[in-house]
């Protein structure tokens, strides 16, 4: 380990109490006892890694250390805001990982580690030895990066609801209580951001809810970017459903003829998107006055939902795995950290070039499980393969997607060239089927990760 890392580590030890000399932990060795893989983080990436390690080699000992006793899935969590599902329906248990696969799941918070002796320390005083460590920490939100915004404000008045929980419920309650004709504002995040639950899908589901319950209500998106993944297919949906006029430079390939053409709306629609080039970048939030100051002026709103800038989950920084931008550089074949040998980083937190989605984390986890077993067995590294599909809804029965296959080329994760998005001339049936499959995917995906 580098001197800098060593200093960081010594500081960590100082902050958390030094390891007792000699340990008091049982560390597995390659010879004799089964190798032990410890996974920090029990989200999609961590759970899938643990399950696929056991599926591939049931003799390997696998332990997940996760701070929450139950997983609350972020994908699909905007459906709590529009009342399609309850918070309870987002909950996923670790029971199947324990009982079906024999994975140990410890509810505890990691406070530090000794990467040389390969021991993880927890707030609960546990010292857990490992042969390989997999870190799947998700993201942390930087509420304070926006002037006038903070975690305290997010929890009481202007929720983010990006990591699902009480803020998601608060946002749902605020939408229901909004005055007739009020404005629901979404402050979209800068790149890169963890996609689920999808800022633009959330805007759509709120607009759909308003059509039924508050038809003169409005949705406004303030955006520090000039585009987003699935922007053209989403804008066509907004055009058809919410009176949105597609900006001139997004009109290429839009259906003009046929039975479901893009329309030119005369009045303002119920959904407005203000990109960076039109002054959509937010400078300041005034929570007391419920005002948002963007580059194009001050906007008053009745409900404000902020998706703050984000970086790799906190534990990644604590373990010295992040770069100066706050993400984790990795070897693209094995997901081994470029900062710390013996440690692998997957999911939203790693700098892989893949979209920061649950689907990406799931396929990265399987590649990593294989790589970890190859490394432990001292076999040559296997050839990897990945996929990502992000479904999105413009309405409950209006689906779309981006779908990609990734292969390793010159040791870099590379997208295989080909079509990515739902065609703009997709039929009503195709659009509806995308929504049907999106809903079915919630279950098949959760099962592949956790059951």
């Amino acid at each position: 380990m580098s001197d800098m890392q060593r200093r960081t580590f010594l500081k960590l030890l100082g902050a958390t109490g030094a390891l007792a000399a000699g340990g008091g932990f049982a560390r597995s060795a390659f010879a004799g006892s089964a190798p032990h893989v410890v996974v920090i983080g029990g989200g999609v990436g961590g759970a899938t890694t643990a399950k696929y390690l056991k599926l591939t080699d049931p003799k390997v000992r696998v332990t997940i250390i996760e701070k929450n006793p139950i997983y609350i899935r972020p994908y699909g969590s905007s459906e709590v805001v529009n009342g399609h599902v309850t918070m309870a329906e987002l909950e996923v248990s670790y029971d199947a990982l324990r009982s079906r696969y024999g994975i140990e799941v410890i509810t505890d918070t990691v406070t530090g580690y000794d990467p040389e002796r390969r021991v993880v320390e927890t707030a609960g005083g546990k010292k857990v030895g490992y042969d390989r460590l997999v870190v799947s920490p998700g993201v942390q939100l930087h509420y304070d990066a926006i002037d006038g915004y903070s975690q305290a404000i997010a929890e009481s008045k202007i929720p983010s609801g990006w990591i699902p929980g009480s803020q998601t419920q608060l946002l749902a309650a605020q939408l229901k209580a909004m005055r007739p004709g009020g404005t629901f504002m979404i402050v979209a995040p800068p790149n890169p951001y963890r996609c689920p639950p999808g800022p633009y899908e959330r805007a759509s589901l709120v607009a759909e809810w308003l059509q039924h319950h508050n038809p003169t209500g409005k949705v406004m998106i303030l955006d520090p970017k000039n585009g987003f993944v699935t922007d053209t297919t989403m804008m066509l949906g907004w055009n058809r459903l919410y009176g949105f006029n597609v900006p001139a430079d997004f009109r290429k390939g839009m259906p003009i003829h046929g039975d479901w053409p893009m329309l030119d709306h005369t009045g303002p629609g119920m959904l407005e998107w203000i990109p960076a080039r039109d002054g959509g970048t937010v400078k300041r939030i005034d929570a007391r006055r419920m005002e948002v100051e963007a580059e194009n002026g001050v906007h008053r709103a009745d409900v404000i939902n902020v998706v703050p800038p984000m970086t790799a989950g906190k534990v990644a920084g604590l373990l010295g795995l992040t770069d100066d931008k706050g993400w984790c550089p990795i070897n693209h074949r094995t997901f081994e950290s470029l900062k710390q040998p013996g440690v692998h980083v997957i999911g939203d937190a790693c700098a892989s070039g893949m979209p920061k989605s649950g689907f990406s984390a799931n396929t990265q986890a399987k590649v990593t499980a294989r790589a970890v077993l190859d490394l432990i067995a001292e076999r040559p590294a296997s050839e990897p393969a990945w996929e990502n599909t992000c479904y999105a809804l413009a309405a409950s029965d209006y689906g779309m997607f981006v779908a990609d296959v990734f292969m390793l080329v010159d040791e870099k994760i590379s997208r295989v060239k080909g079509p990515r998005f739902q065609p703009l001339d997709a039929s009503r049936a195709q659009i509806r089927m995308s929504a049907v499959y999106q809903q079915a995917w919630m279950k098949t995906f959760t099962d592949d990760c956790f059951a």
Partner: protein
Amino acid sequence: MKLSVLLFAAAGACSASAWAQPQASGETMANTCAACHGTHGRVGEDVAMVPLAGMDKGEFIRAMRDFRSGKRPSTLMHHVASGFTDAEVEAMAEFFAAQSLKGGER
């Protein structure tokens, strides 16, 4: 794993059919299908997606080829099938054909 690695200057993205490079195993590629089609291709009977476990090898290959050409209409399977070569599809087909639908003891 193939040892003969043909090195071509691949700028940016790789094409699905252009050149030989080491191929991932059928299982590794099949694992990328599992998020929708279930672990090892096993999904419940009440799910919209088709189970792939135990599917006849020829049927799988034909389906992927027809998705890719557009002969068989789809939502996103045209996109996914376009990401794999014939040899990769065949390796996945062999893996799924060897899986039992019920899975037994997992």
